[in-house]
């Protein structure tokens, strides 16, 4: 068998595996199969961005129509007016939906602005008067113009209704190291308030709050989980923030270093609820760190041992609290790349008068 460091062999093998002779462009066949796309390409264009112009003209006619209705109603003396529903069928007119891919900044017809990262794509609704769009994938920032009615972003995992706001959405669609598919929507609110909902439930998020909508699960924000003690939430948030800042020392500060020092020195018994590893791990740690002379020195070693060298995004998918209320276990997604993730299960325990992270 030839060695693989023979570049010619590898080239030939790759040719054999991947080469395709039977792929030929056949434009006429494509044209015949895609009459709608061809029609959209070849239809007469209004100068400039035809879609935007069409929408604005239609909206202007819509306003005229509404004004006329109001005038007639006033003349015949009806005193109670129902505000015109601009999203109703009478006002919804055909417009062109379009798919936009990042990186770009796009101003919607209502003046709201959506900024798409390089990995992102959205699709506009194509209905005049219907505010919002479909978020297909990637990371987007949205700044919604206030006071113009309902603005809804639909995503594969839930809908986000803006209530006059700035927010960031991220459709995460990847595979964890374990092979498990990771499919979720992350929502971060910068200003105002949003309602996140899907078939499983709904949640309101306000400025500086963020939440997760995993596929087939109710929206979740651990900071709003009433079952969790406030101090535990602070600890979980501190872990998330430390990863986001790429700050290993801040991460290590969530652990009870004094306890770990006593464990390393054999001053306390191993307890699986207080130390995340096995008894063998604890013994190995004691052997490795036998020359450590203080808990401060241990804290430095601990922080330098963790692999947090750059900002890492953490999504907290769920947190479970034990029946006695003293132990918590979370399911988190660590994002390593656009589609590469690791699923982790950090744990916390309440001892020495505080909540401490015991496992990463």
């Amino acid at each position: 068998m030839q060695p693989v460091n023979d570049d010619k062999w590898l080239d030939e093998a790759l040719e054999g595996v991947l080469h395709s002779n039977d792929t030929r462009p056949d434009f006429q066949t494509w044209v015949a199969r895609h009459p709608e796309a061809v029609e959209m390409l070849t239809a007469p264009k209004v100068r400039g961005r035809s879609v935007v112009k069409t929408i604005r003209i239609n909206a202007w006619f819509g306003k005229l129509a509404v004004a006329a209705v109001i005038a007639i109603v006033a003349v015949i003396g009806i005193t109670q007016l129902t505000p015109p529903d601009t999203s109703g069928p009478g006002d919804v007119q055909a417009a062109k939906a379009e798919t936009l891919t990042g990186p770009l900044t796009h101003t919607l017809d209502d003046g709201s602005v959506v900024t798409l990262a390089a990995d992102a794509s959205i699709r506009t609704y194509g209905e005049v008067g219907k505010r919002g769009f479909e978020h297909i994938m990637g990371t987007i920032d949205v700044a919604v113009v206030k006071g113009q009615g309902e603005f809804i972003v639909t995503t594969p995992y839930g809908d986000v209704k803006a209530l006059g706001t700035k927010f960031k959405l991220e459709v995460v669609d990847g595979t964890a190291d374990s092979g498990e598919k990771v499919e979720l929507l992350s929502v971060e609110v910068t200003e105002g308030k949003v309602e996140v909902s899907n078939a499983k439930g709904q949640q309101y998020l306000e400025a500086a709050q963020d939440g997760i909508v995993a596929k087939d699960a109710a929206p979740y924000d651990f900071n709003q989980d009433e079952a969790l003690p406030e101090r535990l939430k602070e600890r979980i948030q501190a872990m998330v923030d430390a990863f986001a800042a790429g700050d290993a020392a801040a991460w290590a500060a969530n652990f009870n270093i004094n306890y770990v020092y006593r464990l390393v020195k054999g001053q306390v018994e191993y307890d699986p609820l207080l130390f995340g590893g096995s008894q063998e791990d604890a013994e190995r740690l004691g052997e490795t760190l036998k020359d450590i002379e203080s808990s401060e020195q241990l804290a430095e070693v601990f922080a330098s041992s963790v692999n947090i060298t750059k900002p890492i995004r953490i999504y907290v998918r769920s947190v479970e609290l034990s029946a006695d209320g003293n132990h918590a276990r979370a399911q988190c997604i660590q994002r390593k790349g656009p589609r590469r993730m690791t699923i982790t299960n950090p744990q916390w325990h309440h001892f020495d008068n505080d909540w401490w992270q015991i496992d990463d």
């Binding site: 595996v17 991947l18 395709s20 792929t23 061809v38 798919t99 669609d173």
Partner: protein, 179 residues
């Protein structure tokens, strides 16, 4: 004037197509069809599905041509659409990530064994590396054409290809195909 690697003024073609010229769109189709099929194949591992994805990507491009801001980046823009289309296909069909076609079955048994090992190694690469390898060997596209679709410089294509091949060679060595 933006003259492409093959001497075609692509920006002029894009402008004409945006103004509704079907022939110009046809020229872009001829130019990018195979690279886009290759890109889709790198995601889907199935040539028929890859051709479907490429056809859909061109249809989306037709519908959304007004969204293309930088006319000199048609290939990269189309590549982005293609990736979105393939991810939508994977998601909606709930199919696993790349399930590659079997390699050609016309060689000797030991050759088929090697090809199978190479095929597995290619699909173990990270997606960006897999895209490069598949595009390079699918139809022998030039570095310039690959760089247009992947939106990286030809020099970067060269460097990354070398690294990806090195990684493949290491994987194959570990799998018993080394010296």
């Amino acid at each position: 004037m933006e003259i492409g690697s093959d001497g075609i003024n692509e920006v002029a073609l894009v402008e004409a197509a945006q103004n509704g010229c079907l022939d110009s769109f046809g020229a872009l189709y001829q130019r990018y069809h195979n690279p886009i099929v290759a890109l889709a194949y790198a995601q889907l591992g199935d040539k028929h599905a890859a051709e479907d994805a490429a056809h859909e990507a061109f249809a989306v491009a037709c519908r959304d041509f007004s969204a293309l801001r930088d006319k000199a980046k048609f290939g990269a823009w189309l590549g982005g659409i293609c990736r979105n289309v393939t991810w939508q296909m994977i998601r909606t069909r709930n199919r696993p990530l790349p399930v590659p076609d079997q390699p050609r079955n016309d060689g000797r048994p030991e050759e088929r064994e090697r090809w199978e090992a190479v095929r597995r190694a290619v699909w173990k690469l990270e997606p960006p590396e897999r895209e490069l390898i598949v595009m390079r060997y699918f139809n022998g596209f030039s570095q310039a054409r690959i760089s247009e679709v992947l939106d990286i410089t030809p020099a970067a294509v060269n460097g990354r290809l070398l690294r990806a091949k090195r990684k493949l060679a290491e994987q194959l060595k570990r799998g018993g195909f080394g010296s």
